[in-house]
């Protein structure tokens, strides 16, 4: 959610039950403004909160003028001092995919993971148990990246593409209408499109190239991994991801307000197919 409209967004996203306490809200308002100034970001998003056992991580992201460019992620333990996280790499992702369980809450905590590695000793090849230390910081980075790639949502029309290349925020976005807001196809993934090329010609003919340049949520696998509800007496659309429980996207139809927040343990819900 945009840091400019933080309070309203938190209010609208509170249907999932998790939010921020007043002291955190106040700290965020101040510190995010300073972050924007210091790092010269175009837009600062408050991404959410990852619950750890000892402490919680508060995550923010900074965007440049091009909305789809790689974002800079920052974390903080007290909503006041922010530290920049390194960008996610493939190596980091594979390394941290073996770690399971909750986050500890201490960025310097190291997970130990024993691996069987083949060690060549002259001509003999034997397996040796190697203990690999994985830092919680890398795990944090890869989880945030995974969540963004999987379930970050933006409504259709909120961003538009210019022929020059960069993706801009659409300042004339008036919000979706009620009938559009109830369809999953009006929401897009907020990341580089993957499925677009696979569309049939018929589908492509209906698309508006300046608005329909992202993947829609309709074709997500497994089908039904999004829960859509109307809250507040039918004036607010809330999308909750079932694959990453804790991610809430809200949008008030006919208004500009939209945003998403993740408040959860940072674990994927692998049991999803059993639960549907």
């Amino acid at each position: 959610m945009d840091s400019e409209s933080l309070l309203l967004s938190l209010e609208l996203a509170s249907g999932s039950g998790q939010g921020l306490s007043p002291d955190r809200r106040a700290s965020l308002l101040t510190s995010l403004t300073l972050v924007k100034r210091d790092y010269r970001y175009d837009r600062v998003l408050f991404w959410g909160r990852i619950l750890g056992i000892v402490a919680d991580y508060y995550i923010a992201q900074g965007l440049s003028a091009d909305q789809l460019a790689p974002r800079k992620t920052l974390y903080s333990l007290n909503c006041m001092e922010w530290s920049l996280l390194p960008p996610a790499t493939e190596e980091m992702m594979t390394q941290t995919s073996v770690v399971k369980g909750r986050f500890m809450g201490d960025p310097s905590h190291e997970y130990e993971h024993t691996e069987m590695q083949k060690v060549n000793d002259g001509e003999k090849v034997f397996d040796e148990e190697v203990v690999v230390q994985i830092k919680e910081e890398s795990r944090l980075v890869s989880i945030i990246d995974q969540i963004d790639k999987a379930v970050a949502v933006i409504p259709r029309g909120a961003l538009y593409k210019t022929p020059f290349g960069p993706i801009h925020v659409n300042r004339t976005f008036e919000g979706l209408s009620l009938s559009e807001a109830k369809k999953l196809s009006s929401y897009f993934h907020f990341r580089e499109p993957i499925e677009l090329k696979n569309k049939t010609l018929l589908e492509k003919a209906d698309m508006d190239p300046s608005l329909d340049f992202l993947d829609s949520l309709e074709y997500d696998i497994p089908k039904g991994s999004w829960s859509m509800q109307m809250e507040r007496g039918n004036t607010l659309v809330v999308l909750r991801s079932l694959l990453w429980p804790g991610l809430t996207f809200f949008h008030a139809p006919h208004t500009k307000n939209c945003g998403y927040i993740y408040v959860g343990t940072g674990e994927k819900n692998i049991d999803l197919p059993f639960m549907l």
């Binding site: 249907g15 998790q18 306490s21 004339t172 829960s227 509800q229 909750r240 959860g264 343990t265």
Partner: protein, 684 residues
């Protein structure tokens, strides 16, 4: 369209007036294009009698708003001005055929007429260039001819020339109205340009799209029809009506009496206070949502005979969510419906084995005995009584504040046992089936109730000392070692300092009974019931399949501190924090459950409260593994009449045949011998 800016005027005689008139006329002509379709104005192609361009003196009375100031911003400032003036001069010799038309502009600015003149006006006036009829659309057209002013004109009477026709066609096309409204492209462009000129934004080219959209929006904004309601907004208005009903007090004019009643003790909990404290912890719904819940609970209290009521929490579902209220009815107010339902169910089950037995008896008397099934259903464990154990409280749910509260049925031990084995999302509809393996005995309402029972038992905690056991307690032995069941509030409770609450888990205790693996809080020996069934049965081969000695299941007793809770993978099942580290003196202690994500408790001073907001599932570090299907059952007991025997081979049959023949032959010989002997005997 607005009022005509230039009122129709009679053609005046004097030249100056004529000038004024003509200027006005010209301007109104220029700007009255929308009316062109209606008033077919005739253009007077004229000859340009242009010598030196005459510059109009500022004293010429122009219509309001028209300022002949040079167009400063553009480089070619002179050009539009001169063309303007030239056009004015052209009109001088013109007759009085101009009709004064309405103008769509309210604030014409000086630059505008020149722009439109560039594109549409010139072509009509200047006939000179011998280009084709569509050259006029070329924006560079007016600049193509070298000398701007010296283009010959005909002074003939009006005749629609091909160029004229082309221009009129173009105009007519531009004036086409769109389907949605009575606005045409021409008018829209005119609006946009007026807007730009009025507001003079910086860098207008980059804002062109936005301006376009906003101008459109202003015209196309749908207005509320006085007769018909907007169909899209219908459900929203309905919900709003329902919620409005919450806020309307049910008073019939006796306002004061009601106030007194309400100020006294009501069962409605102070939801707002709870919401405030949980907000400090960063948990909970927004404040207006909490208030609506409060009003809905108040409505519930008025409708049902409720003794105590508590907001239990919110369970999220796929299409709708559930708001759960935990209530206790007043003494003796138990609804009879529930018990009737239970009786029917329980009556059904003991009947079934009976039918089986009778049926089988008949079969026995028949010729062939059908093999009897050896499977006996496991004994049904009776559910706990209302107001005890898992059924201590009654639960009401509703989907949204304003909707009706539905009562959830009591939970049976079997449902709890099965609920532990499955993991399904709630859809939001109470009568939805729960499709799972092992099959869940009930629909979503039962599953919801079972999960609520499990969550309450696992996560409802209170500070140590808040509750204590009553003084009149029977011996533990009498109750079969199940522990004490009841507790009461401790009037001498003084509160534990918040820092201590956060430091050690031993300062918190569970105040809801633990659910045994059997599915109940108090243990019931299933064997006893089986013996009763055995007595009912007759002549059954009751193979005593070892009436197993079922061990009594014991769980932790009531009011056990949290430090005794089992760990999850070396992780404590509870996380305790101060709500605000910056101001510890006013913080509350917040405890979060790691086993049931979404369960929170706060405590400060003498107050504490539990809440659950989440999906309703337990946390498990391992993946969910559904149990495998049971092995296929044996259909018949093995026996010679059922077993398949292998057919004899050919050699065996031949050997048998040979043996039989031999035996036959031997028998015949014997007979012959006997006959011979008899004959011999006879002969003798």
């Amino acid at each position: 369209m607005g009022d005509p800016e230039f009122p129709p005027q009679e053609p005046l005689g004097s030249q100056e007036d004529q000038d004024t008139l003509d200027v006005q006329a010209m301007r109104s002509n220029l700007m009255g294009w929308p009316q062109a379709a209606e008033n077919q104005e005739m253009y007077q192609p004229e000859e340009a009698q242009l010598g030196t361009p005459q510059y109009l003196s500022p004293n010429v009375s122009f219509p309001a708003g028209y300022q002949p100031q040079p167009f400063q911003e553009e480089g070619d400032a002179q050009l539009p001005l001169s063309t303007n003036l030239m056009m004015q001069q052209l009109q001088q010799g013109q007759g009085t055929f101009f009709q004064h038309l309405d103008s769509t502009y309210q604030d014409p600015r000086q630059g505008f007429p020149s722009s439109s003149a560039l594109y549409s006006g010139e072509e009509a006036r200047f006939e000179g260039a011998q280009q084709g009829p569509y050259m006029q659309e070329d924006p560079a057209y007016p600049f193509l001819s070298g000398d701007m002013g010296y283009v010959p004109f005909n002074m003939d009477l009006p005749e629609p020339e091909p160029r004229e026709l082309a221009v009129q066609n173009a105009k007519a096309y531009l004036l086409q109205t769109s389907i949605n409204s009575h606005l045409s492209l021409y008018e829209h462009l005119v609006n946009v340009l007026t807007k730009i000129l009025n507001q003079r934004p910086e860098n207008p080219l980059s804002m062109l799209e936005w301006l376009n959209r906003t101008a459109q929006a202003e015209w196309f904004h749908p207005k509320l029809d006085t007769l018909r309601d907007d169909p899209e907004m219908q459900p929203t208005y309905e919900m709003a009506e329902r919620q409005r009903a919450l806020f309307v007090r049910g008073g019939q004019g006796e306002g004061e009496q009601e106030m007194e009643e309400e100020v006294g003790d009501t069962a409605v909990p102070n939801v707002m206070e709870m919401a405030f404290y949980f907000e400090q912890a960063g948990v909970g719904l927004s404040s207006d949502e909490s208030f609506r819940i409060f009003m809905a609970l108040k409505q519930l209290v008025e409708q049902q005979p409720i003794h105590t009521c508590r907001f239990w929490g919110k369970i999220l579902g796929l299409s709708r969510s559930y708001l759960v209220a935990e209530v206790e009815f007043r003494e003796g107010e138990e609804e009879g419906e529930e018990e009737e339902v239970e009786e029917v169910v329980e009556g059904g089950e003991p009947l079934e084995p009976r039918d089986e037995e009778e049926g089988e008896e008949d079969e026995e008397k028949a010729a062939d005995a059908i093999p009897k099934p050896t499977w006996k259903p496991p004994p049904v464990i009776p559910r706990e009584e209302s107001r005890s154990g898992t059924n201590k409280y009654l639960y009401f749910v509703c989907n949204e504040p304003g909707r009706a509260w539905t009562r959830l049925p009591h939970v049976t031990p079997l449902q709890i046992v099965q609920a532990r084995k499955i993991k399904k999302f709630f859809t939001g509809y109470l009568d939805a089936p729960v499709v799972s393996f092992p099959p869940f005995p009930g629909n979503e309402a039962n599953y919801l109730r079972a999960q609520i029972a499990r969550i309450s038992a696992a996560t409802h905690i209170s500070p140590l000392g808040f509750y204590q056991f009553g003084e009149e307690e029977g011996d533990e032995e009498e109750e079969g070692g199940a522990g004490r069941e009841s507790f009461e509030e401790n009037p001498d409770f003084e509160g534990i300092p918040v820092l201590e609450l956060v430091d050690s888990m031993a300062n918190w205790v569970h105040h809801v009974q633990h659910i045994l693996p059997q599915g109940r809080c108090s243990w019931v020996n299933p064997m006893q019931k089986m013996e009763e069934e055995e007595e009912l049965g007759e002549e059954e081969e009751k193979a005593d399949e070892g009436i197993e000695e079922v061990e009594q299941e014991i769980g932790p007793p009531l009011l056990t501190p949290l430090s005794e809770d089992a760990e999850i993978l070396h992780m404590s099942p509870w996380t305790a924090r101060l709500s605000c580290s910056l101001c510890p003196q006013y913080s509350v202690a917040v405890v979060r459950s790691n086993l049931w994500p979404g369960a929170y408790t706060y405590a400060t001073g003498k107050k504490f409260e539990n809440i659950y907001i989440g999906w309703g599932h337990k946390y498990s570090p391992d993946n969910f593994n559904p149990p495998l299907p049971a092995p296929i059952q044996q259909e018949y007991p093995s026996g010679p009449d059922v077993m398949e025997m292998s057919d004899p081979t050919v050699e065996e049959e031949q050997a048998l045949k040979a043996a039989q023949e031999q035996a036959l032959a031997a028998a015949e010989e014997e007979e012959e011998d006997e006959e011979e002997e008899e004959e011999e005997d006879l002969e003798d």
